[in-house]
Every structure is written in C-alpha cells, then in structure tokens.
Subunit: 377 residues, 2 copies
C-alpha cells in the first residue's frame, strides 16, 4: 500500500492519537495541519519557506489544476511534485467540493457532474473515473475519492441518496485508480448531520479497503457543537490502523478539538486567506495589522513566535507593506499564520506524547481568548 | 567622508572604470546596478533573496516614504535599514523626480515645491531642507540632493534657470545635511540636452565638495544617441575620485554603454516592473512568459542562467502561475530579471578587469539581439 499509518501513542488524558503517515514522499507527523496550495502553489510561498516552517505535506486542488493548466501538462512536467518543485507529500482533493459549490452551473447525474468552468464558462464533466485520471496524472501521494458534499442544511432523504451515490462513486474510484502502488486513495465519509447516515456511509466505505478515510461535509456552515457531535459518532467507526482526515478545518479550536476526537489530518485555507487581508493569528488571539494602533508599534506580530516574520520585522513595517499593497507584506503575514498553525500542531503532538492535551488546550485558549473572537477563530 | 571611491582599474579597451564605493554599510563593487525598493521593499523580494543574488545596494524613495509611512516612523524604527531588515547600503533619491512628475499637482518656487499627495490629495511641501530632513531620518548611506529634473523636450532658457536653481538647492542641501559623517550626499548634474548647460551645471556643482555626482535628467524620453552624447560631454567634467551615478537607467544596452562612458552606478525599475507583467530578460533577449507557446515548455526561462528560478522551475510552471495571478510567479520572474542584470554587471566588471569590455558588449548583443527588440531593451 502506498500509504500506511503508524500509531505511536494515544493521549491518556484526551484520547488523541500521535502517529505517522508514511507516504512515497516521506513521513507526515500527525495530528497534522496541511497548508493549501490550490493552484500548485501555496499562495506567496516558496517550497523552501514551507520547509523552513516544517510543513510535512501540502494540499492541492484537482478542479483548479484540471481547468488550468490542465492535468496533461502537469503529467508531462513529470507530475505535480516536479512541476511545483515540492518533494514532500502532496494530497489532492477530488474536485467534488469545488464542482458542487458551482451550484447554478452544474448538473449531477449518476455518471458524474456536468459543469461550466468558473474561468471561461466551458462545459466540462467530472466523474469518479475522470477524477482518478486527473489525480493519477498529478501524481499526488494521497488522492481523494470523488464524492458529493451535501449542503447544510439538507433534507434527510437527499443526504441519504447523496451518500449512497458517494459510496457507488467510491467503488468506481477504487476500480479506476491506475497507480495504487504509489498513490493512496482515501474515501470520504458523508451523511450530513444525521448520525445514522454517517454510520451507513462509514460502514459502506470501510467495507472497501481504502488506505485512509476522510470526513467530509463538515465545516459547511453548521454550528461547531453539531460538527463535534458528528465527529464523535463517526470517528469510532473508522479503522484504527488508517489515518483520519477532517476536511476543510483549520481554526485553532477545531484543530485542538478535532485532535481530541481522534482526527489525524486537517486542511484549511484560513491561515493563507486571512493573511492576504492582513489578519494574523497570535498567541493572544486575532490581530488585524491594518489597524492604526500598530503604525508605530515596533514589536513583532507575536512576541512568543519564532517565525521568520516575527524574528525580523515589526508590526509597523508589516502594516506599512499591507497598507501600501506590497506583496512582501502578504508573504510575511502568510509565513506567520502558517507557522502559527504548524507550531500549534507541534505543541499538540508534544502534549499527546506527554498525556496532557486537555491541559494544553485550556492553557492555549486562556491566552488565545476562544469565543471572545467575533470572527470565529 | 561617509562615502569614498576606490578606482581599481580602467579598461584599456573601453575606458570603463572598475571600482569600489565604500559606505557605512559595506562595499559596492562598480559598475553596479541598484535594484529599486520604492516603498521600503524591492517588490515581492525578501532581503535574503536580494543577498542571494548578490545585490550590493538597493535604492529607496524619499517621496513615497515621506507620504507613507512617514519618515518619523522610519526614524523611530531605527532607520530604514532596520525598518526593512536590510543591512547593506541604501541609496535614497531626493523626492524631486516624483514631485516634478506630478505636473498638474505641484507649484515650483525658489523655496521649494508645493504639491498634493498622489494618495489622498493632502497639500505637502518639499524643499532642499525638507528632503535632507527626511533622508537624515531614513538614514540611507547615499542621499541625493533635491533637484529639478527638467522635462524633455524643454526650452534652453527654462533648462538654464532650472539648473541654476538646482545648484542653489544643492548648496542648501549641503548646509542642512545633519549627518555628513555617516551619510554621503550626492549632487545631481542637470542641464537637459544642452552641452553648455551640462558644463555649467557640472562646473557649479563640482566646485562644492560632494562625495559623489549623479547625472539626472536623462532617460526621460530622449533618443538614446542624445543620451550618450550628453554622457560623453558630462562624465569627463566629473571628478575621477568620486563615484558617478546615471539615474533611472537599467536596460542592458544602457548599462553597457553607460559603463563604457565611465558611469559607476545605475538604477531602474525596469527589471521588477516588467517582471510583474510576466516579461523576462534572457541571454537571447526578451521573453514574454504569458505566450501560449510556453504552455508545454518544460525548460528554464534561460538555459544559460544560474538563478533560483532557472534552477528550479520551468517556463510552463511560471506561465501557469502568471496566468493564474499567483504572486509566486511574479517572485520568480523578479528574481530572474534582477539576477540577470546583476550577473550582467558581474560580467561587465570581469571584462573591465580583463580589458575586453567592447568585445564583451559585441558578444552579448550578438546573442541578446539589440535593436531587434521592439520594446527597447
């Protein structure tokens, strides 16, 4: 199998898992946060900068690379690793989430989804087989099955039909996957907010032998309590000897509370997206560097941070760059935010090793100010 | 004196000078090209990347930093070097060029220039004294006198009055310069395209003891032949023991032909500006990476180049990034273009050392295709 999971230990205090995911391009220490590089680049970052902040894996986007530059070009380049000069693991999503987001521009059939390109309106088609063809061409270490991510809220009957189709699609993905020896295919558990449907989806998918399982259809607008309820009913249904990936989640609270519930992998555009608006995450919570009060503040973004940005630049300088629309400012806030979440996960792993993840969570949020933060992170 | 010039040798074939400019923040090997960092950042670049491509000095902009973030903030930060994390030499222009470019928004008086901010329309005033105050606050190694850059074409009488005022302003700059021990002030020779006025300006300014002399008012739209005529009449009037800086010039032909005429320092936004449009300079001339023909070209931008971009990324990848509006693409083209000009100047210095700069020029342009290039570089 291309992907194997090694359980190192379970936190006695929280139940969180410390592990390693072995891939053809190296090891991912888990629980892990995966920076997102949608268009074959983590926005503003060089591969060397990502390595310097110790990112073990990045995520890229099947839909976007299919549309531009086209997966055949990436294949000709020698695959996505070579194309983008990144020699560590890559996970690619299936394109399903993006296609289903194009709500007025797509038509779902059993065969697949007809949709129009968000770039030029071209008529395009994605199916389980096509999603595998694209991801095989990209050569990612971890591929995702082509699924339907049901919206929130959604009717029981709709969600049931949708997850059953997702199961049939998962089977078709398994069958058409051309490179199982060097690319691992993860299935995606759906079922909306309905516990029995989550059980059904998990049961159907785990009856097939995927090297890893994702939980999809969460972080789509539902309250966080509901997300944790679904996690608590779903995670125990997943095999303990495979990695578990909670898709699209990356706020500090969700990384902690997801880890505590047995999740090994996370991804989210949050740190890079907010960085581009000049918003940063610090040990004391959210900091909007555009604010006038930082104009003459010559301290670092976060006095407790050891990232390149905090070691070398002041709030006043970063604010100046962001106000002046200088892209180096966005590099600096992106480096900081990614480093912040990667450092958080290093601390999570250490706390698991030392059986004190619940204590770590309390101490972290006492300073970070969870729930005082109006923007939800 | 804060700035001293050391002549190493003169090229027997071309008359070009090999030298070193000693500054409080280190040595500049000359002839040198200076990358431009208008707003306290060389667009998209980190200081480490500039060092990696062996930039000895960068240029920053008095007008822009005066308007935003304000020179008092830079002073409080400990000066521009500390503010922007650059410990090598910095040259700041005087603000004159920008102010005179605001043609409808400024009023020239003997005392100085009244103008409106291009950002918010605020009424502002720059004078020789104010330009010195700002540059003293910035703490650049090389400051420029506050001058008037006459437009092209301009009437003889206008240019004469203007250069005479520039001389009076240069005297006021000298008198109000508060840090001559650690910041060198260069005067700027004006005089438009009139040889006798250039002689007058050079004579007036060299009668005062500036540590360096710039030639301003060129590369403002005049034909290149005319620019070289002015250089040929002006350079010999400048002291041989001081550095000579040709302002606003950075195309490969002008760097070569300026060096051959005895210029030691150059600056231009050309390499960084064209990089942002996806245009690159290569050993075979201009290459517009957006062109469809590069979509499946997996070779480097320039097979003869040793820069970070050319060592690690293909034309197909860079084209993808530029087409997708990914700022990492602009980082890659900026790195390449700056490296290209800095490498050109290393080659120029080597050719001077070996008394073969004219031969080097011929060989370079035989491959680069001078004059075949419709965009003039």
């Amino acid at each position: 199998m291309a992907i194997t999971y090694e359980l190192i230990k379970t936190c006695k205090q929280s139940g969180a898992r410390l592990g390693r995911v072995h891939t053809p391009h190296g090891i991912i220490e888990t629980p892990a946060f995966m920076p997102v590089g949608t268009q074959a680049t983590v926005k503003t970052m060089s591969p060397e900068e990502l390595k310097q902040m110790d990112a073990h894996i990045i995520l890229s986007n099947t839909y976007h690379l299919f549309i531009r530059p086209g997966h055949e070009i990436v294949r000709q380049a020698g695959g996505l690793h070579k194309f983008m000069n990144w020699d560590r693991p890559i996970l690619t999503d299936s394109g399903g989430f993006q296609v289903f987001s194009l709500s007025n521009m797509r038509k779902i059939k059993e065969e697949g989804v007809e949709f129009r390109s968000h770039l030029n309106g071209d008529k395009l088609f994605l199916s389980p087989e096509k999603a595998m063809e694209i991801q095989n061409a990209l050569g990612s270490d971890i591929m995702m099955a082509f699924d339907e991510c049901a919206p929130y809220p959604a009717e029981y009957d709709y969600v049931k039909k949708s997850l059953e189709r997702t199961t049939r699609w998962a089977e078709r993905c398994l069958q058409s996957h051309a490179r199982p020896h060097d690319q691992g295919l993860f299935a995606i558990v759906q079922g909306g907010m309905f516990e029995d449907l989550r059980r059904q989806s998990a049961s159907e998918l785990t009856s097939m032998d995927f090297p890893g399982y994702a939980i999809g259809g969460l972080s789509v607008g539902e309250p966080k309590d509901l997300m944790y309820n679904v996690l608590e009913c779903t995670v125990p249904l997943l095999p303990a000897d495979k990695p578990r990936y909670l898709m699209g989640v990356g706020s500090p609270d969700a990384l902690l509370d997801g880890s505590i519930r047995g999740i090994d992998m996370f991804d989210c555009v949050l740190p890079t997206r907010i960085a581009r608006n000049g918003t940063t995450m610090t040990s004391s919570g959210r900091l909007v560097i555009r604010n006038a009060k930082y104009a003459e503040d010559f301290g670092p973004l976060d006095p407790e941070c050891s990232c390149y940005t905090c070691k070398n630049y002041s709030r006043a300088y970063i604010r100046h760059l962001i106000k002046a629309d200088e892209s180096f400012g966005i590099r600096l806030t992106t480096i900081h935010n990614l480093h912040f979440l990667l450092q958080l996960m290093r601390n999570v792993r250490k706390a698991i090793l030392e059986d004190r993840l619940l204590d770590f969570r309390d101490a972290f949020f006492a300073q970070y100010g969870l729930f005082e933060n109006t923007k939800g992170f």
